[in-house]
């Protein structure tokens, strides 16, 4: 029995036992449901083994939305706990676990897959490609991310959640101060998901460099593709740092090294340093795709071409480089001298310049445009003032000497939510609404969508604006409760009210999906927004091969020119198309990775060794496998294209 004691929760509560029951029942319901409706074969053939970038994108999307709600519930628990002074809803340990989980889930398992969902779905379509450069690796990326996320999510019912914050600073996260296996979960699950992200990074760079449609020079790419390219470049340069850092942390916790310890020659601040060497570029990995999405949406709904294309490209390239020069601003108070702090203060403020250029470009795109206030456009327009508040408070935090006042207070919490929520959440909701018809063949209801937007926009400001004040008054972040005498009570209650507003907003989005699925028209054509880029030149829903004939591009907005000036987009005749085969190996290999991670979390060495061998066996299998893909014949393509309006336009 001793062996199984390690799986027990170190700090149980009725809520956790209730969650265990709920998780158990959900798993049973899913298994029974799949069996009852005989969907196992469908699931395996169409989803688990797929290498189609569009389906992988949709799976990323579903996972991201699930994680959004998981992280959102954590957020509500925190706001409820701090809503009144001396609250007893959560104790200190649970509060630590909840804010740690909230941070990790939202950054690594919500924002990242959401970005990759849209990149996967949109980028190959925007550049006129049939799939990504390495379709099977793409499936592996998704399943590694998914298994990492699942590993992290079982932590609170098996063995205990991590509780050292999403930054997981050593020595607090070391064995001396974090004795449960929680931090092992943190290290292993992010490691597994991080490998997936790194693979995606390489995959998308190769795709964008090598698979663009004929005539699409780099400076003729749509803005979202540009931001995707630069984002993935940052991924490739930043994620190896995370991989190494997590590995060093794992060595410290599992194998008794002293890299981040305070004794035996360890360097206790090195974790914080390395973490932010990855962590700051990560912020830009999150924000740059959002900038791309806003550029597409603002240009489409202002019915104008994007103002200052070249300066937009230049500013994202500069931002990507600067993102590697500023990491120290996360720990100005760590004890390094004023010289270092001054250098990183200046680099930090310098980032405001290219960001400002982008903001002005969007404003100038809207100027003299015929603006249509659709739901995606509302999010984009709402983003600009809210993000500017986030940016300005960021410059305040970037002043090293003043930062001693703000550091680790609710002011900081307010600041980064003011950048990340408009920067990522608004962008993803905007992008989701914008590309939804391309993904699913119907539009989300605009009226309900606008209700959701206003609940989210107002709820967001009511939640986070009060934190600027409580932070300046001295309320520390991650503090699980406070006394009545501190006077924080009223503003924290206001925050809680705002959080409820946010929750209602997201509930309305869920209702909107349900409502639109049942009631929206399916007869929307392939270009419902009157958009400008190539993804709208495909049929809806998109065929597995994307384009029957490869588009020929000679301007930034080839599809727009095609529509307005009648320039032909598809020349030549239909030829047979080479497509990759499906494969179950990525899914199986990722399942093995899950067991591998789990074995490491609990220091179970025999399963760890077996799964390590199995992982290498999967890779060897791939090396010796002969898989040349398959061809779709001209006859088949013509049959599927028969009713398409693409062909109809051509024959006119």
């Amino acid at each position: 029995m001793d062996y199984f004691d390690r799986f027990a929760i170190p700090h149980p509560s009725p809520a956790i036992y209730a969650s265990m029951v709920a998780i158990g029942l959900t798993v049973i319901a899913i298994l029974v449901g799949l069996t009852y409706f005989k969907k196992w074969g469908y699931l395996w053939r169409e989803w688990l083994t797929t290498v189609d970038h569009k389906r992988i994108g949709i799976m990323y999307l579903i996972a991201a939305l699930l994680m959004l709600f998981r992280g959102g519930v954590d957020a509500l628990m925190m706001r409820a706990q701090t809503a009144v002074p001396d609250n007893k809803l959560l104790d200190a340990q649970h509060y630590n676990e909840v804010f740690t989980t909230h941070g990790v889930v939202m950054i690594i398992f919500m924002a990242m897959p959401f970005i990759y969902a849209l990149m996967n779905f949109v980028v190959p379509l925007q550049i006129g490609a049939r799939d990504v450069a390495f379709p099977r690796l793409n499936a592996l990326s998704f399943w590694l991310f998914f298994m990492g996320a699942m590993l992290f999510n079982i932590s609170f019912v098996i063995g205990g959640s991590p509780d050292a914050g999403w930054t997981s600073y050593f020595p607090l996260a070391g064995n001396d101060f974090s004795q449960s296996v929680g931090t092992n979960y943190y290290l292993m699950s992010i490691q597994i998901a991080g490998i997936g992200t790194l693979i995606s990074g390489i995959n998308f760079i190769a795709t964008i460099f090598k698979m663009r449609a004929p005539g699409m020079k780099l400076m003729k790419m749509p803005m979202f593709t540009w931001t995707a390219l630069i984002t993935n470049a940052i991924v490739v340069f930043a994620f190896p740092v995370l991989t190494v850092t997590l590995l060093l942390g794992t060595m410290d916790r599992l194998f008794g090294t002293h890299i981040f310890s305070m004794t035996n020659g360890g360097m206790d601040m090195l974790w914080a340093n390395l973490f932010w060497v990855w962590g700051h570029p990560e912020v830009y990995i999150l924000i740059l795709p959002a900038f791309g999405i806003y550029s597409e949406i603002i240009s489409t709904f202002s019915q104008r071409n994007l103002y200052g294309y070249k300066s937009m490209v230049a500013s994202i390239v500069i931002i990507s480089f600067f993102s590697f020069l500023v990491w120290t601003h996360h720990f100005f108070t760590m004890g390094q001298g004023p010289l270092t702090n001054s250098i990183f203060s200046i680099t930090t403020m310098a980032i405001a310049i290219p960001t400002g250029i982008k903001i002005f470009n969007w404003l100038l795109t809207m100027r003299k445009g015929k603006i249509k206030f659709t739901v995606p456009m509302l999010y984009s327009v709402g983003f600009i003032p809210i993000f500017t508040i986030g940016g300005v408070t960021g410059v305040m935090l970037g002043m090293a000497s003043a930062d001693y006042q703000y550091h680790n207070t609710m002011f900081l919490v307010a600041h980064f939510h003011y950048t990340i929520i408009p920067g990522v959440v608004f962008a993803m909701l905007a992008g989701l609404t914008y590309w939804w018809p391309k993904m699913f063949g119907f539009m989300l209801n605009e009226r309900i969508g606008k209700w959701a937007f206003w609940f989210i926009a107002i709820g967001f400001n009511v939640t986070f604006f009060p934190m600027f004040f409580t932070g300046l008054d001295g309320q520390a972040r991650r503090m699980y409760t406070y006394s009545e005498a501190s006077g924080f009570g009223l503003l924290n209650m206001l925050s809680f009210v705002g959080a409820v507003g946010l929750a209602i907003g997201f509930a309305i989005i869920v209702y909107n999906v349900y409502y639109s699925t049942r009631h929206s028209s399916r007869n929307i054509g392939s270009d419902p927004w009157n958009a400008r880029t190539l993804e709208w030149a495909t049929q809806t829903p998109v065929q597995s091969y994307n384009f029957a004939r490869t588009p020929q591009v000679d301007s930034i907005e080839a599809f727009w020119d095609h529509k307005k000036k009648g320039k032909p987009l598809f020349k030549g005749k239909i030829e047979k198309i080479h497509m990759p085969n499906n494969s179950g190996v990525p899914f199986i290999m990722s399942c093995i990775f899950f067991v591998w991670g789990f074995s490491f979390v609990f220091s179970m060495w025999i399963p760890a060794i077996i799964t390590t061998i199995a992982i290498f066996a999967c890779m060897a299998h791939r090396s010796f496998e002969k898989d040349d893909g398959h061809y779709i014949s001209v006859k088949e393509i013509e049959a599927t294209e028969k009713d398409s309006e693409v062909l109809a336009n051509e024959s006119r």
């Binding site: 060497v277 480089f321 590697f324 990491w327 120290t328 270092t340």
Partner: protein, 93 residues
């Protein structure tokens, strides 16, 4: 005949052997730590450059510009990270 002989690759191979020999001297000769590390680091980076350009054909395709841009970008970021870390944790602590 001269087109068939991989002159560049053979020269590169000889050069990498020379570099390896130079690095080996650190072990056999009695030099100070600083000098030894300097020799090792210098030979290692030149070696990496030879591999990239000579044997991995970095400069021989249409993507030449993209490949070199990526390499320079990577080197710049690596240098910034290393020297920044030294500045924070050692020189200015």
């Amino acid at each position: 005949m001269s087109e068939l002989f991989p002159r560049k690759q053979v020269m590169g191979f000889v050069f990498s052997l020379v570099l390896t020999a130079a690095a080996l001297t650190v072990y056999f000769m009695d030099v100070s730590f600083a000098v030894g590390m300097t020799i090792l680091l210098a030979t290692a980076f030149i070696q990496a450059g030879v591999q990239l350009v000579g044997f991995m054909h970095a400069g021989e395709s249409e993507d030449k510009v993209a490949i070199y841009a990526n390499i320079y970008y990577g080197i710049a970021i690596a240098l910034v990270t290393i020297f920044g870390t030294l500045l924070i944790l050692v020189w200015d602590m």
